[in-house]
Amino acid sequence: MDVIDHLAAVRRGRLSRRAFTRTLLAAGVATVAMPLRPARAQSDGATFFTWGGYDIPELFVPYAEKHGAPPNFTTFGGSEEALTKMRAGFVVDVSHPCNQGLPRWVASGLFQPIDTAKLSNWGDVMPELIDLPGNEAEGGLPWMAPFDWGQTSVTYRTDIFEVEGEESWDMLWDDRYSGRLGSLASAGDAWWCAAIKAGVDFADIATEDGFQATAAALREQRPHIRVYTDDTTTLEQALASGELAAAMTWNSSAVLLQADGVPVKFAKPREGALTWVCGLMIHKDAPHPELAHDIIDSLLSVESGHFMIEDYGYGHSNMRSFDKFSEETLTGLGLSKNPLEILQAGHFQTPQTQEFETRINEEFEMIKAGF
């Protein structure tokens, strides 16, 4: 084939239409046929796939000291969503499930046991938090390194919401505040809280009666709810402006709002709050297994623990993190050096089958849509 100097030909007005067409064709074919260069990873750091709110440099001070910068973050709104995404092929280094999902996460075969010898803070981790159902992998290694624990309860405006009698889950069903109540959108929290309100024992939560009673409670609640959201910031802003009088939240929302001077309280419902332990798991195909262990070690460090307790009001898994705080401060935050005390006082989430998870998620979406 002849080599044509197209630019010169065009400039002199001597490029025929056919030659031009042919060139365009060649360019088109070349564009399609050109092999795409393999997509490179976004950056060289490891990736932490977590709940919104944990994607902050404050929790990665030791990690950043060692590697120069915090890891990459990507967030999810609920752990079911996270598991579905990873099952569909999303590969990360570390993710952040909770005890209730642990056996199902392990059963998915997507994770590897954690090499605790690589964790400098492992010796300080509270043993009762490691010893969770389904957490033991071969060789005594854990699948999940416990990191944070806390409660799901009602945060309410003390100046707006008039509590009748004791604090209770009924507050989120109170028709005096219809249209001024908010809720977390994931069934992983809302379904369990509704079960507590409906008086369903967690041992019976998967039975047909338990299911129907919980669904009925959520249906009854739905007309009163102004917004269902996975985004805790939305709930916090709405509570701060007075748009919401009360909302279902985790510890951190109440602590953050109090720090801003908003008159809110994290209720201690008489039926008991929902309690949980969350932790860190390493993907079996983690591109950076060494960095993954560093992410976990950083989260387990005392520095991160101080931040978790002081700024977020969550329990931390490192027992030395609590030394800095007085018994009084901890009680005020609803925390204790003995996590079991808090976890057992509330309703501790228990692992369920995949069928149950899918069923409650489907049902809850229907309820939220008004059916």
Partner: protein, 312 residues
């Protein structure tokens, strides 16, 4: 080197047909259609890879069923039966069609005067006007949605303004987390898609037709109804379809502004692929939605061509 080669090849380019090129070359040059397809090839291949193959996967998947984390690949119409049995899906689809229809009508009604003004009354710097009108598109869609959240919010711009002038003493709660919030936001965000096609069709109108109508005794209003409006109909139809089709499946606007009653079918489809974890059902809903949109779009196209046929 290229410069040296140039005279010889330019000559050759000037009379390419006369030179011997082999059977393939001749065939290629004689058949205009073949050449056309040759040119379209990159785009066609891209369409096939980017639209037809995923669409095929979607259709296939809609006939499967989800069992736990696995997908049962035996053929079944169960998902479609479920979509018609359970009222929630129909309600969401009808609501999506209604909300996106309302947003489309609002957008076209609001944008027509703007396009009219630019086409007929702006004589200098038209380009600048058009660029300014597409300003909403200069920021990310997500930012625009959040901007509306602050405008419509409980202590947002509108509520604060109304309260400070004493018109209301309690913030209006229906502004945010409602269907109207979604419709308002969509109407604003999609405005350029209405302004540009309507502007183009107005700009193309032969001004002497308007003069003729005036000469023959039409007042401004009758002239508009009998000449300008019919001649700008292609722009209106294009704008309607351009806005209606993508907004029916919108996901992010109802997710952020809709509240419990403003959920649309796009949100349900996302849930099916997300936490409900029932991909075949999500695929089924996506296909039903596509069929609904196609029916509405076809009705608009056929309806207008009927009207056109009757008019001529």
């Amino acid at each position: 080197m290229a410069d040296i080669a140039e005279p010889a090849q330019a000559q050759q380019a000037a009379r390419p047909a006369r030179r011997g090129r082999g059977a393939n070359g001749r065939l290629f040059y004689r058949h205009e259609r073949l050449r056309g397809y040759g040119l379209l090839m990159p785009a066609l291949l891209f369409m096939a890879a980017g639209i037809l193959i995923p669409f095929g996967i979607l259709v296939t998947m809609s006939f499967w069923t989800q069992t736990g984390f696995d997908i049962d690949t035996s053929f079944t119409l169960d998902n479609y039966a479920k979509a018609f049995e359970q009222p929630v899906y129909q309600t969401l689809i009808l609501r999506s069609l209604y909300m996106s229809g309302a947003a489309t009508v609002a957008t076209v009604l609001l944008c027509y005067p703007i396009a009219y003004f630019v086409a007929f009354h702006v004589h200098r710097g038209k380009m600048l006007w058009l660029i300014l009108l597409t300003l909403p598109f200069w920021t990310s869609y997500l930012l625009r949605v959040f901007a509306w959240k602050t405008v419509l919010g409980y202590n947002g711009v509108i509520n604060s303004a109304l309260m400070s002038v004493g018109l209301i003493d309690q913030p209006l709660e229906f502004l945010l987390y409602s269907q109207s919030a979604v419709i308002i936001t969509l109407a604003h965000a999609w405005a350029p898609f209405a302004i540009l096609p309507i502007y183009v069709s107005l700009e193309k109108i032969d001004r002497s037709l308007l003069e003729a109508a005036t000469d023959l005794g039409d007042g401004p209003w009758r002239r508009f109804l009998r000449v300008t409006l019919p001649l700008s109909a292609p722009g209106i139809i294009a704008a309607t379809l351009l806005i209606f089709i993508p907004t029916v499946g919108d996901y992010i606007t109802p997710a952020l502004l809709g509240g419990p009653d403003g959920v649309m079918i796009g949100n349900m489809i996302q849930m099916q692929f997300g936490r409900i974890n029932d991909w075949p059902m999500g695929a089924t809903l996506a296909i039903i939605m596509m069929i609904c949109v196609a029916i509405v779009a076809l009705t608009v196209i056929v309806g207008t061509s009927r009207l056109k046929a009757r008019a001529s």
